[in-house]
């Protein structure tokens, strides 16, 4: 089983304050922590689990700037065999469609059975790259996969639908699967593995080798979402706010 995993380095914004920068088209990045995109870590773990079962090799690919090397090295430490960075220094001009086209240019000449991607990048939140890439490569896909069983020429893929319902599909390989979080429990890289990965060579390819590619869209402006409703914030120390809240709950007849 030769597996390609597409990963991306993203700012961790779920619990951080995110501010628009002076251009109005990007965010202030200097105080944000960057790490591998969440669902990509599950995609990589799934590849490692399948490799442990069936053998073969894992190639991780990212489209990113120099800082993305760290993301690739963590993937190598977790069990990837090869790592490729498609060098892009101006990440802001990438939308999901353009990223997929760049990935297509390199993957189309590679030998693989399966491609895993995350189902969503938490920064631009398109959920486009995997399914677009599958179409460009003219291979079948399934998105939002939370369980996968591989056999020689096909996969039983289970997609997560609304309400927790699963859609069971049979898909011929080679195929692409976008992986939903929760499909497995991603491992941590050991210190020894991280040290070993630090010495590994990364393959680097310049995006300019692929010629010009079109974006689907251009950012006009970024802005803070309008607030339609805001909670009444109770003020005070834990004792005071608990007192107030208990009063409210009691008044509403909920206890």
């Amino acid at each position: 089983m030769n597996i390609i995993v597409c990963i991306k380095r993203v700012p961790q914004t779920a619990e951080a304050e995110v501010k628009v920068d002076s251009s109005g088209k990007d965010i202030e990045k200097d105080r944000l922590i960057f790490d591998t995109n969440e669902s990509d870590t599950y995609a990589l773990e799934e590849a490692v689990l399948q490799k442990e079962k069936f053998g073969g090799s894992i190639t991780v690919i990212t489209v990113g700037d120099e800082d993305s090397e760290e993301t690739l090295r963590i993937a190598l430490a977790k069990g990837a065999d090869e790592a490729i960075r498609i060098k892009v220094e101006d990440l802001d001009e990438l939308d999901g469609f353009k990223t997929a086209q760049i990935l297509h240019k390199i993957i189309k000449d590679m030998d693989f059975d399966i491609i895993f991607t995350g189902c969503l990048a938490t920064d631009d939140a398109y959920s486009q790259v995997g399914t677009t890439l599958a179409k460009l490569l003219e291979i079948p896909h399934a998105s939002l996969v939370t369980k996968i069983e591989l056999s020689e020429n096909s996969a039983d893929a289970y997609r997560e639908l609304e309400g927790g319902l699963l859609e069971h599909l049979k898909i011929k390989l080679p195929a692409l699967f976008t992986i939903q979080t929760g499909i497995n429990v991603p491992r941590y890289a050991s210190l020894i593995a991280i040290r070993r990965a630090a010495r590994k060579e990364l393959n680097e390819i310049s995006k300019t080798e692929f010629g010009e590619m079109k974006s689907n869209s251009f950012i006009e402006e970024l802005f803070t979402p309008p607030v339609s409703k805001l909670a009444e914030i109770l003020s005070g120390n834990p004792d005071e706010v608990s007192e107030k809240l208990t009063g409210i709950i009691k008044e509403k007849g909920l206890i």
Binding site: T13, A14, E15, E17, V18, I27, G96, F97, T122, D123, D124, A125, Y126, S127, Q128, T131, T132, A134, K135, L136, H141, A142, S143, L144, D156, L161, E162, G163, G164, L165, E167, H168, L169, K170, A175, T181, V185, N216, S217, F218, I219, E220, E221, L222, P225, P226, K229, L230, A231, E232, I233, L234, P238, V241, T246, I248, I249, K252, L254, I255
Partner: protein, 324 residues
């Protein structure tokens, strides 16, 4: 202007809510831009669906075939691409749902038309199209201009637009399916229901929801004690299920359960829209989170901005005192 297309979504014989949201949004967009709204139905039997939506579109195009009984993104993609190529609608609207996410990008890529996903608004300006969508875990909105074209494809976020009654009388057109069999490289097998656990969070008047903020599995004890004190059950947002701290049937949100309790207390939950979709109908919503900018405070009636580990034990005691 050329037509606005809306793809009808249904599952296991039931029209999905997103369908009515798309139709209402599409109608408003059509009115504003002097266009016609066409609903596209793929189904094995379309009668019931037509009856429910015929006042909501100018035209309904029906493609009936046994292969469309259940959703298959590949079958839909091949057939819908043929229809869009022939009719050249100005814009095709699809739900940003599990079905739509599997279909949208590959369909637009096949058609070589500009597309974008998970939109909160769409604006037409002559031949230009711009959309509003969210980035960075919902912390920011972005206005995007799409590459100018004759035809666009956009997916819209579920639960964003209110459904509205219509007063149209749709012309019905039945057309032959461009394909007669499911592609052999992707076969739909079956739907599998989520296994029910011992606690049904949809049946409780009081639900305590926990998220990333609880940090460690061992901290569940503090929450369980609090839930016992107030007489509620414990549900959670996605990360807690992903970490396997609670079973899947406790997940509140679009890919989990939708709850409508009298009281919902969100503890350490930031409030991603997927979670909000599952709890926004609660009568009273309380949020406890140390991040004052957490989107959950835009949904809650009351909020406490503080460390949950400082507040919850005190709150538990106050609740017990009040009950005594």
């Amino acid at each position: 202007m050329n037509d606005i297309f809306v793809l009808i979504e249904h599952r296991q014989g039931v029209i999905r809510d997103i369908t009515f949201e798309l139709l209402a949004f599409g109608r408003n967009l059509a009115n504003k831009n002097n266009a016609k709204l066409t609903a596209i139905i793929f189904a094995d039997n379309s009668k019931k669906i037509i009856d429910k939506i015929k006042t909501q579109a100018d035209k309904i195009t029906v493609i009936e075939n046994p292969i469309f009984k259940d959703f298959n993104a590949e079958s839909y993609q091949i057939a819908l691409a043929e229809i869009i190529k022939k009719e050249n609608p100005f814009i095709t609207l699809i739900g940003h749902t599990a079905f739509g996410m599997d279909l949208c990008s590959s369909l637009a890529t096949e058609l070589k038309i500009p597309f974008t996903t998970d939109c909160l608004d769409v604006e037409i300006n002559g031949k230009k199209l711009s959309v509003t969508r969210q980035m960075y875990d919902g912390k920011l909105n972005v206005k995007l201009q799409l590459q100018e074209n004759d035809s666009y494809l956009v997916s819209l976020r579920a639960g964003t637009f209110p459904a509205e009654d219509g007063n149209l009388n749709a012309e019905i057109e039945k057309i032959e399916s461009p394909i007669s069999a499911e592609p052999d490289y992707r076969k739909f097998i079956e739907y599998i229901e989520v296994v029910a656990g011992e606690v049904d969070i949809t049946k409780s008047d009081v639900v305590i929801g926990i998220g990333r903020g609880i940090k460690e599995k061992d901290n569940l004890d503090i929450i369980d004690e609090f839930a016992d004190a107030i007489g509620g059950v414990v549900g959670c947002s996605r990360p807690i299920v992903d970490a396997e701290w609670l079973p899947k049937d406790r997940q509140i949100g679009s890919s989990g359960k939708t709850i409508k309790p009298k009281l919902y207390i969100a503890i350490g939950i930031s409030g991603a829209f997927q979670h909000v979709m599952g709890m926004k109908s609660a009568d009273t919503i309380i949020a406890i989170n140390k991040d004052p900018n957490a989107p959950i405070f835009n949904e809650a009636d009351y909020g406490i901005v503080d460390d949950l580990f400082k507040v919850i034990p005190v709150l538990k005691n106050k609740i017990l005192e009040a009950k005594a």
